[in-house]
């Protein structure tokens, strides 16, 4: 029923996943001394940058972004500005939540903030791309009857997977194994990344298998 969208979704997800892969491999080849554990923050920013750039490009090309009512340049600019603002606010929000979850407040604030940036680029950015800078719509999407298109369902799945991945990623931190990936925030960011990749795979698959049951109210 939704074959066209599913195919588009699968290919765009493949591109995003490839960008994550490239953002990991390329610096490792080009930069001496680069490793996911050792220079974790670098990896983190390179991945978030790649995901941001590729997602924006892909969703813009696919034309998922909700149509703007006005076509004036000023309106577009204000939309862009609001999107950037929301992006930044979402970073702050994630930072606060992570600190409340028990991350050190002052000691490794940079690491915590970098994790927040990663989480934002994996979740909020997608919301921005699919729904535009509209918080009401974001909240609406995450309810049982809130999804209004295949892309909304896909958004639900990937965001849930990412957040749960980051949450599960915190589990190994207290263990006394003394592994390099137990250092804050490596396990959480890896968890979020793995969750995100899982979401990328799971979303088209789930939608494909449930395409008969899916019905959407028209906008």
């Amino acid at each position: 029923m939704w074959d066209h969208e599913i195919r588009a979704m699968a290919s765009s997800h493949a591109i995003i996943a490839a960008s994550v892969f490239m953002a990991t491999v390329l610096p490792a080849v080009l930069l001496p001394g680069f490793s996911v554990y050792g220079s974790h923050l670098l990896w983190l920013y390179s991945v978030s940058g790649a995901v941001t750039a590729v997602s924006v490009a892909v969703f813009w090309l696919l034309g998922i972004t909700p149509p703007t009512k006005k076509h004036t340049l000023g309106y577009k600019l204000s939309r862009l500005f609001r999107s950037c603002l929301y992006f930044f606010l979402s970073c702050l929000f994630f930072h606060t939540v992570v600190v409340l979850y028990g991350a050190p407040l002052i000691e490794s604030a940079l690491e915590t903030f970098s994790l927040a940036v990663l989480l934002t680029s994996l979740t909020t950015l997608r919301c921005l791309c699919v729904l535009g800078p509209n918080v009401q719509a974001w909240i609406r999407v995450f309810s049982r009857h809130g999804a209004m298109s295949v892309w909304d369902t896909c958004l639900q799945i990937t965001v849930a997977c990412t957040v749960v991945g980051a949450w599960v990623g915190a589990f190994p931190i207290p263990l006394d194994w003394d592994r390099p990936w137990q250092v804050w925030p490596i396990s959480c960011s890896l968890g979020a990344m793995i969750g995100f990749l899982t979401g990328l795979v799971a979303a088209p698959a789930w939608i494909h298998y449930h395409r008969r049951q899916l019905t959407y109210k028209c906008k």
Binding site: L100, Y101, G102, I139, S143, A170, P174, L175, K217
Partner: protein, 1086 residues
């Protein structure tokens, strides 16, 4: 409502848990058999040709002085001349190091390692019997009983040595009538730094100069008490250690040449001054040996031991003083104190190194043989290996002695290796479990958990059943118990209580399951469609919902030592996650926001939504702000945690130390003001809440408590803090007054607390009744009571008939707090009652608040802030629960009686664990706040029940508060319904009177709530029991898992007891409300 079935079901439920725990703990905690044999002189035979009686021979030393300085840590004894800025506990005992370096032939200083548990009584047992302690003995610290095993004091007495003792009176209890002369001083009062020490010093020097003794034992307690009271890093510790330095110097000056001086600590202390565990700071004490005549063959060499185990003191002292080594000692002699082979005779008398080792090895081997004959717990292969080793060594030694040549030095080291391996074998095997009992306990506990879950699911059916369906299981339990007892009596001649209990519990549980199966299927036939629910439970889909997943994760976390160590943060993490789940879940169901207009209305999905967007928005904002409050208090509560010894880079919260330990007076004042402010806020918030719901108008006992007792209690608590924080040396002329206040203020608080709780119990109603003139009621449009017409009906029937009528009237007049009567112009109801809407929750809340202040009294002052956070978090939880219930109710999605869903219950019980940590407690024995036993009893106690219960109340304060407050979860959504939409629909607010309208649902909801709460706690207990059982050979079992199990189990017991108290308080209120209605009706109808 039916109170009795609810109470009896809960009681039965908790007793099943108790039996399971009792069985498991009985099988799990270690038991070592005591060997009741004593060594004699004839056992110690010289291997040579000349058969000299060992005891008659001239011993190395005629006399010995044992100075035991309690908690003399090795760090205190060391002296570092380069340290220019010593801490108060450093460099205060220069005499030890000075002597050891200036007179190397006469003295040595070693670290002296204790075996855990490092409590004083265990240590005295350890270094007089020479055996290893077991875990069970920890509990005996309050009432130490006499040592029955062979020990050094007994041996000395048997050989006619005069043992004079002075100091800690624990010795007198351990060795009654064993001393030639004894001067015991009371040891229990930790705050008293000087009584014991000054008492000793009055007699010590005279005794040493005199000739009325052979062995003198003096046990000083000042250093230990100073550690408990102020911590090591305090000027008082410096004073105490300096005093001890002087004592040691004076004793050394008065010694004669044939006397050995041993200065030793029985254990160390942590950085906070506590002890009991097995960290190196607690186990490493100091031992200092000195004699006026040379005792060591030379200056310290490479062969010196790095650390001396405490068991080694017994054989060393015994052989030096010429008495046999006590029978069950497993220590080895301290070799440097004995001359090497071939240098005996002449100036140096006594045994050579090899002879001493040989005697020691023979004694240990004999003990091993006796012990392995009595108990089978030492693994046979290692026993065989040890026996072989000994027979080889003994033949080698005997042959070399027989041939007259001097044995090789290698023999000495292999004898030493033998002794060490015996001790290691003993240490590893005296962890003996009873697997049968453990398995029985585990299975009973597992069944009890399952039963708890079933009870919570079937509560509706069970309450309907007469007697809660409990008669058959109880009868079966009694029958099975008696049957097993009889069988045991017949077959063995005696009966073991544990197995009778086990049989009873097991049979009643099985019977319950059988009945539950029948009950679970019966409603299907009765109610048709409604009963589908009971058939389908226990499917994975229903069980794997997040509110149950979180407790599951919590239970799983108890199986890993890392998570147990980080428990405080783990629980906070889970609590936070589950709290975030509530709004997310509500949003997922589309209930958080008012539904957007266009799609739903046009689609007609919601038939006629009886909700206004403004109400939804209001409720959502209340929910979200309460969530913010909850999260904020969760985050702040993290800063009140204590530190385990395993957590390396961790600093305990500064709020944990009592104010009297602060040295900076400004900081002290700030802390004091903060504490008093939070106490005041606690009191104000409680009163504000009661006032808001109109419960402060009448003149009953509860209202009196709220108006007067609670504020007075807070005031006396604040004054008590002020008095106990004053430093001792200031206000010297007021000293008497201060001492009186320290005694009187807390006792007054205890009395007020008792008075308040009793008043609430006796007169729990907070309803203010206003009766209108009879004329106005006659003219009302309501029909006159009909029962007048029918005369022949019994009073009971009248009541049944009448209650609804009166009740309907009253419902119209229900208003809270404000004095606005019924609305109808001429139809004013006959009775107006104020505060009826919160008639159940008000006494429970007040009871809870009073109890909270009482428990705060037992804590250090700084914890007032943590208690305030607890109050805030509890309020936030209640409001979140109420709002989410209202939101669900508004959308018509939820109308399942008064049932409290899993999420708030799980949050509630996780919060209990979280605040256990946030009030500075930890599941380890050294972190128990013993100071609580002295609140109001600064001079110590005579009995053991009172201090033990005070310490229990202190330790489990959080569990107690959350258990007592548990019924509030049931009342709060009803209490908050005014704010919600239900009241706006033309119907008056009924609030908690809904419970009265549906007594059946009330009792089933109460039962369900309590069983759910018990289930979450019980599952945690079960998980920690599993952890202890599975990991019983784990490295960390005695350090982490066993203490965790003990704390979890005792916390569960306390929770059960206080949950029962809370539930019975609710039942008591219900009874009172029933009486009140009875009294009211005849009055108004006349």
């Amino acid at each position: 409502m039916k109170g009795l079935p609810v109470l009896s079901l809960l009681l039965w439920m908790s007793s099943m848990f108790f039996v399971g725990l009792y069985l498991f703990v009985g099988g799990f905690l270690l038991v070592r058999l005591e060997v009741n044999r004593t060594s004699g002189c004839e056992d110690v035979l010289h291997p040579g040709q000349d058969l000299v009686d060992f005891c008659r021979a001239q011993p190395r030393f005629r006399r010995a002085v044992l100075l035991i300085i309690d908690a003399l840590k090795i760090d205190f004894a060391r002296f570092d001349p380069n340290n220019t800025m010593p801490r108060p506990y450093q460099n205060k005992l220069p005499v030890l190091q000075e002597t050891a370096s200036s007179r190397p032939l006469q003295s040595r200083l070693y670290p002296f390692r204790a075996d855990p548990p490092t409590t004083t009584m265990q240590r005295i047992k350890g270094f007089t019997t020479g055996s290893l302690p077991t875990f069970v003995d920890v509990g005996n610290n309050f009432a130490s009983s006499a040592i029955l095993e062979d020990n050094l004091i007994h041996q000395l007495g048997k050989e006619g040595k005069r043992v004079v003792f002075m100091g800690d009176d624990t010795w007198e209890n351990l060795f009654p009538k064993k001393f030639h002369r004894s001067l015991p001083f009371p040891s229990f009062n930790v705050k008293d730094l000087h009584t014991v020490d000054n008492g000793i010093l009055q007699h010590l020097y005279n005794t040493i100069i005199g000739d009325d003794w052979d062995v003198l034992v003096a046990h000083f307690l000042g250093v230990d008490h100073c550690g408990h009271r102020f911590g090591p890093d305090h000027p008082a510790m410096a004073d105490k250690l300096t005093q001890m330095d002087g004592v040691i110097r004076s004793v050394m000056d008065r010694l004669q040449n044939d006397t050995l001086l041993v200065v030793m600590g029985d254990h160390g202390m942590t950085d906070t001054g506590d002890h009991g565990g097995e960290s190196q700071k607690e186990t490493d004490a100091a031992i200092f040996l000195y004699s006026p005549s040379p005792i060591f063959p030379g200056p310290p060499t490479q062969n010196e031991p790095d650390v001396v185990p405490q068991t080694d003191l017994v054989p060393t002292l015994a052989l030096l003083l010429g008495v046999p080594i006590p029978y069950s000692s497993v220590g080895q002699v301290l070799l440097p104190l004995f001359p090497p082979h071939g240098q005996t005779g002449g100036a140096v008398r006594g045994l050579s190194q090899l002879e001493a080792l040989w005697i020691n090895a023979k004694q240990v081997n004999r003990f091993l043989e006796t012990y392995s004959g009595m108990a089978k717990d030492i693994p046979p292969e290692s026993l065989l290996q040890l026996k072989d080793q000994f027979s080889r060594l003994s033949s080698e030694y005997l042959s070399s002695v027989g041939e007259g040549r001097s044995p090789s030095q290698q023999l000495a080291s292999s004898l030493q290796a033998y002794l060490t391996s015996v001790r290691d074998t003993c240490r590893s095997t005296w962890a003996r479990f009873n697997p049968l009992k453990m398995a029985a306990g585990l299975s009973i506990l597992a069944l009890a958990c399952l039963m708890c879950f079933l009870l919570s699911e079937l509560s509706v059916v069970l309450v309907r059943e007469v007697g809660g369906g409990l008669k058959v299981p109880v009868v079966a339990a009694l029958a099975a118990g008696v049957g097993v007892a009889a069988a045991q009596l017949l077959s063995q001649g005696f009966m073991e209580l544990t197995w009778c209990l086990a049989a009873g519990a097991f049979s009643s549980e099985l019977l319950f399951f059988w009945r539950a199966r029948r009950l679970g299927s019966s409603p299907v036939s009765k109610n048709g469609t409604k009963g589908v629910k009971s058939g389908g439970w226990l499917t994975p889909r229903r069980l794997l919902i997040p509110p149950l997943l979180v407790p599951l994760l919590r239970c799983a976390s108890l199986l890993s030592d890392s998570y147990v160590i980080a428990e405080g943060r783990v629980v906070t993490f889970l609590l936070f996650s589950l709290a975030l789940y509530i709004p997310v879940h509500l949003n997922w169901d589309g209930l958080l926001l008012p539904p957007s207009h266009d799609p739903l209305k046009s689609a007609g999905l919601l038939p006629s939504p009886a909700l206004s967007p403004s109400t939804v928005r209001k409720e959502s904002s209340v929910l979200l702000s309460c969530l913010g409050l909850l999260v904020g208090s969760l985050y702040l509560s993290l800063s009140f945690h204590g530190c385990r010894e395993e957590q390396g880079s961790c600093h305990p919260s500064s709020f944990l130390s009592p104010l009297s330990r602060f040295q900076d007076s400004q900081l002290k004042n700030i802390h004091y003001i903060l504490s008093v402010l939070s106490l005041g806020l606690w009191t104000y918030l409680l009163r504000r809440c009661l006032c808001h719901y109109g419960n402060l108008n009448s003149s009953s006992g509860t209202v009196f408590t709220a108006r007067w007792v609670l504020p007075l209690l807070s005031v006396s608590l604040g004054l008590h803090w002020a008095v106990s924080a004053t430093p001792e040396d200031s206000f010297r002329n007021l000293g008497e007054l201060i001492r009186l206040a320290q005694l009187a203020l807390p006792r007054a608080a205890f009395c007020l607390l008792g008075l308040g709780l009793a008043l609430i119990w006796l007169d729990p109603l907070t309803v203010f009744v206003k009766t209108r003139a009879a004329a106005s009621s006659r003219s009302s449009s309501l029909p006159p009571p009909r029962y007048r017409a029918s005369t022949g009906i019994s009073p009971q029937a009248e009541l049944h008939h009448l209650i609804p009528q009166i009740y309907q009237r009253m419902r119209r007049s229900l208003e809270d707090g404000e004095l606005s009567g019924g609305g109808e112009a001429g139809g004013r109801p006959t009775v107006e009652a104020y505060g009826l809407g919160s008639v159940y929750s008000a006494p429970v809340l007040l009871f809870w608040g009073l109890l909270g202040v009482g428990l705060l009294l037992l804590h250090p002052e700084g914890m007032a802030v943590a208690f305030l956070l607890l109050l805030l978090e509890m309020g936030a939880l209640l409001h979140i629960h109420a709002s989410s219930t209202t939101l669900r109710g508004l959308h018509g999605a939820y109308s399942d009686g008064f049932c409290v869903p899993w999420t708030p219950v799980v949050l509630w019980s996780l919060a209990a664990t979280q605040f256990f940590h946030a009030t500075g407690h930890l599941p380890t024995f050294p972190s128990i706040q013993w100071g609580a036993a002295f609140v109001g009893f600064p001079d110590g106690h005579t009995g053991t029940v009172l201090p033990a219960s005070l310490v229990t109340l202190n330790t489990f304060a959080s569990q107690i508060l959350f258990a007592v407050g548990c019924p509030l979860l049931l009342f709060w959504p009803l209490l908050c319904e005014v704010r919600g939409g239900r009241g706006e629909e033309g119907e008056d607010a009924v609030m908690e009177m809904r419970l009265r309208e549906n007594p059946q649902q009330f009792s089933s909801a109460l039962l369900q709530l309590s069983t759910r709460y018990l289930f979450v706690h019980g599952a945690q207990v079960f998980a920690s029991v599993c952890a202890a059982a599975i990991l019983r050979r784990h490295l960390m079992v005695w350090k982490v898992f066993a203490p965790k199990l003990m704390f979890e189990a005792s916390g569960f017991l306390v929770s059960c007891v206080f949950l029962l108290i809370g539930v019975s308080l609710v039942l008591r209120v219900d009874l009172a409300v029933g009486r009140w209605f009875q009294r009211l009706i005849p009055e108004s109808s006349r």
